[in-house]
């Protein structure tokens, strides 16, 4: 009996299906699916439902595959940060080699299948997204510059452009502005997170802005990007996919977001420590509502247009 128990405790952990699925970062994938779907639906060209479903699935798989490659490369620092210690590789359920194999295989499959299901432009943008996230952000910028979040955010901002390209086969001002919205949203979103999980990034020696330039500088940067974000958000409202409903939502969300960023700017670190970063946590939650609210409003605008309402 003793022998058997000893075996149970020391046996290597074997991955279940869920562990491999966790490599694909399902929570990030939900953002990719949602924004790509909105990009596809608000485009002026109709898409066959099966083609739309397949395309969104392959975009999601491509995004998930880049997440697996990110976990493969970052396994060493994931072991150091509390937030990432339970991921499949640091916890010992999946080996680094397995993560790499899954990431590469799914990346190639997703790009080829998106090319077959949709078109070369969409497939090319997906391939660029994977390359940018894995090679430019994960391998290069993340550990070398505090601007990692800003430039790396481009990868997370591309899905609505890919969705738009699936429908139209091209790129336009609307899709570029949808990209710009997510791109400008990413820094305040992640820097707010960095303000209340500060020790983790420092332990892993990731040059997060809070570590390299200090927390006050981070507060100023959050406010500056929030203002830039408002400009992009309102500009999108004046394009063919915008309208009064979108504008209403955008004005309200930007007012809340700028107010939140102003509150963060005016706080000292002592204030922040005193209430356990309540304002920063609230701003982080608001940032999620901000992005989903904007893309949701674009969907509403398109739906209204089918009934002769919506749009300018």
């Amino acid at each position: 009996m003793t022998d058997i128990r000893a075996y149970e405790r020391t046996a290597p952990q074997e991955a279940g299906f869920g562990d491999y699925f966790a490599l694909l970062k399902p929570r990030v994938m939900s953002l990719v699916v949602f924004t790509a779907l909105v990009g596809l639906i608000v485009a002026p060209t109709p898409v066959h439902p099966v083609v739309a479903l397949a395309s969104i699935l392959f975009i999601a798989i491509g995004g998930g595959a880049s997440g697996a490659l990110n976990m493969w490369w970052d396994a060493d620092i994931d072991r150091l940060m509390r937030r990432t210690q339970k991921r499949p590789i640091p916890s010992g359920r999946v080996t680094e080699g397995e993560a790499f194999a899954i990431g590469i295989t799914l990346s190639v499959m997703a790009v080829v299948m998106l090319f077959l299901a949709a078109n070369a432009v969409a497939a090319g943008l997906l391939a660029f997204t994977i390359f940018f996230y894995v090679c430019v952000y994960t391998m290069w910028l993340k550990r070398s510059t505090p601007q990692n979040i800003v430039i790396g955010g481009a990868a997370g901002a591309l899905p609505p452009m890919i969705g738009w390209a699936v429908a139209t086969g091209g790129v336009s001002v609307e899709s570029v502005l949808m990209f710009a919205l997510t791109f400008a949203w990413t820094p305040p979103h992640f820097w707010a997170l960095a303000l209340f999980v500060k020790t983790d990034y420092a332990d892993a020696k990731v040059p997060m802005l809070t570590v390299t330039h200090g927390r006050d500088a981070t507060r100023r940067q959050i406010f500056a990007y929030t203002l830039a974000l408002a400009v992009v958000s309102l500009a999108l409202g004046f394009t063919s996919i915008g309208g009064p409903a979108y504008m209403g939502v955008a004005v309200v969300l930007n007012a809340l977001f700028i107010t939140g960023a102003w509150g963060i700017l005016k706080r000292s670190d002592a204030d922040s420590e005193a209430d356990k970063h309540a304002a920063e946590r609230k701003f982080f939650k608001l940032s999620l509502a901000y992005l989903f609210g904007h893309f949701g409003a674009l969907l509403v605008e398109t739906t209204l247009a089918h009934w002769g309402l919506g749009g300018w």
């Binding site: 149970e8 074997e14 299906f17 869920g18 491999y20 083609v51 397949a54």
Partner: protein, 58 residues
Amino acid sequence: MATTIKAEHELHRRRFSRNVGLGVVLILFVGLVYGLTIAKVGTDPNDALGIPGTEASQ
């Protein structure tokens, strides 16, 4: 023999979940490619396989 060795170890359960999961994914993938083929061939005969459509379809 008060204690017995369980035939189904935790390890087996994990392997089983992996096999079932992969099986389901493969079946769904085949179904998706089939649906995609039908959608492509059905909607645009000129584009689907590079074969020009018949007079009726045009």
